[in-house]
Symmetry: C2
Subunit: 197 residues, 2 copies
């Protein structure tokens, strides 16, 4: 079944790559299959629909990123340094995308959130659940930082955790718009101001 | 020419409404014409292409909003209060969209920025210019606030002005994803933290 499993993975990779660049609406099953080098007839062996593939692509993308988020944010050491590390990693990922693929692609979840939220409740719900997980991880880190005395206790709320992630999504938007990862050079310096009293 | 001028305006309104909900890629000229109640044959009398219409729709949207931004941010009184007013107005606009149309539509410029930046340099350049204008307006307001002594001078930079707008775009994204304008209830309380030292 090695070949089968590879085809499924290639379809997910192809969908993810296409959606990062162009969103959901204009991507067709034929184009995903062509990019994945999978016969169109096989597509529906793996996925019921383009929506089903999209959910799986979102899940695969988060499954690949989540361990890094957990390892970085829930690791040892000063909690504020862990959050800084996450933000530096996010900026580095956008820099790498530009160097390797020529474009700052932004955040798959943010891109799809703006395009799909008002159109597809299944995709919307999955994206909302992923952002909730991210907010929870950041919130737990802020709680650690407050306990360690490096941020004021009123900054260790879920609301502030969401604002921290909104700062990341907003700045990544501007970096994508400019196709310039240097927009993110001051990302952490600015974001950390949200954690002052 | 009253009828002609109305048709052009209706096409712009229709495009704007459709793009706020569903982005650019899946919207067709036929659908825009149907919503505007304009014959498809007339479309190309007014616009060379869907791209040309999109640029005009973006321009019309900003032409409608810009006077409010200028009046609010460049008016009299404490500069920080002016910025708070702008943010409260933005949250109110998303609340009104939900009440009147059933959906938090988000920001047209932000929605298109994530969908179009890597695909259409003309749209990308226009959106970048509008965000630059917004950043300049916020930057001038921060400079006033620093002169009035209500924010520290190091917070009155263009980089912080961009971070302030990134906070708005990121939080509006989360409000759109949740289709819940109450996500923006703490928008200003969080954003104003960016203006502390």
């Amino acid at each position: 079944m090695g070949r089968t499993s590879t085809a499924r993975e290639r379809l997910l990779d192809a969908a993810c790559g296409l959606m990062l660049k162009r969103g959901y609406g204009t991507i067709g099953v034929a184009e995903i299959c062509a990019r994945a080098d999978v016969k169109k007839g096989s597509f529906y062996h793996f996925f019921e629909s383009k929506q089903a593939l999209t959910i799986e692509a979102i899940n695969a993308h988060w499954a690949a990123q989540r361990p890094d988020w957990v390892a970085t944010l829930r690791g040892d050491g000063p909690a504020e340094d862990r959050l800084e590390r996450l933000f530096l990693d996010q900026a580095a990922a956008q820099r790498a995308a530009k160097t390797e693929g020529g474009a700052v692609n932004g955040c798959l979840f943010g891109n799809l959130a703006l395009e799909m939220s008002t159109q597809d409740v299944v995709v919307q719900a999955r994206l909302a659940a992923i952002f909730d997980e991210q907010i929870d991880l950041v919130h737990a880190t802020l709680t650690d930082a407050a306990e360690q005395g490096t941020i004021p206790t009123p900054a260790a709320t879920r609301t502030t955790a969401r604002a921290v992630l909104a700062q990341l999504e907003g700045m990544v938007m501007f970096a994508k718009l400019a196709n310039d990862p240097s927009v993110l050079d001051e990302l952490w310096a600015q974001t950390s101001r949200l954690l002052r009293s």
